[in-house]
Symmetry: C2
Subunit: 215 residues, 2 copies
Amino acid sequence: MEDYMKVGKVSDAVIRRLPRYYRELLVLRTQGVERVSSEKLAARMRLNASQVRQDFNCFGGFGQQGYGYNVTSLLSEVRRILALNREYKLVIVGAGNMGHALANFEGFANDGFHVVALFDNNEALIGKEINGKPVLSVATLGDYIRANGVDIGVITARRSFAQELADAMIEAGIKGIWNFAPIDIEGEVAIENVHLSDILCALTYRMEHGNEAEE
Amino acid sequence: MEDYMKVGKVSDAVIRRLPRYYRELLVLRTQGVERVSSEKLAARMRLNASQVRQDFNCFGGFGQQGYGYNVTSLLSEVRRILALNREYKLVIVGAGNMGHALANFEGFANDGFHVVALFDNNEALIGKEINGKPVLSVATLGDYIRANGVDIGVITARRSFAQELADAMIEAGIKGIWNFAPIDIEGEVAIENVHLSDILCALTYRMEHGNEAEE
């Protein structure tokens, strides 16, 4: 266990900013930038510098006064904090349009996320391949997860099946669930419930009240 | 202009919680609940009661000590704050799997979001219908937005086209952009850039560090 893992609770807002830092640092490294100040990093992310320093202080700092952050080592720390220094096997449950879109999504593989199979209950889809991955019967979901050590289950099925599918995956040992059905899945593993309508409502808020929200 | 519009900047975290309040209040109203305390509302949302009171205080309060919140009137206030007390016309640019999935998404219409057309540059798709909506040539995008008073443009096209499409829509008078291409779109309108990989990274963070993040 690293030191930064011993820190107390980290706010949800900080957790959500970490992947953004990660993306910005990837761009900086691609551009050959060796070090970056909290001011410059903040400007790229439309934050302020003290916010950036405070965020990294949650994990022990990493910066040096008057020097800033070394891009390569900060990137490596953020990768480690986000647990991206390993590979993950994903299954997608629901081989409809959303499942299709996620199976084809550009960029997941770069971060170590590998879709290994899709599952559906539609006989017309079972046996087909999507982006080279097999579509299997949802009846075999639990066995597949156990046999293949799948880490993450993505749910793109209908709302009415979502909790039941989550329960079956958790029972089979899945470690994380990414749910797109418009319902809050519950369970004793890490869960991200994505409510697409919520994002749209945040957009209409900004359309009405202006784009001036603080971070 | 209402009083709550005169308050200062509202934090991004509060804006993101508003749609969740909205969903919880809809459920409570459906259940026939007339009033709810900040404690009960907080428990449903896994927040604490003072956070709930503080959030609504950003907009002027709405609660009454010893009584709590009237569900119907709080719901109506939240709808108004989120600007959901009107209808919105959406176009989806990119009629691939993600465009398809969004055009079919259950629930948008309930909140007043109406997909009126999809756009693509693929001749094989142009002229077809998806969920009863026409797929039109992207060459006609600006004219369509102007002629039909479209409010929101959803981008599900490839990363390399995304900014250009956004510029064309803004030029044609669009008021908000919901972007799914893995790039930060910029422009002088309300914009929500959804980075699907970021959500996955937040999930792996929780898988590694536990689910105990504060709100």
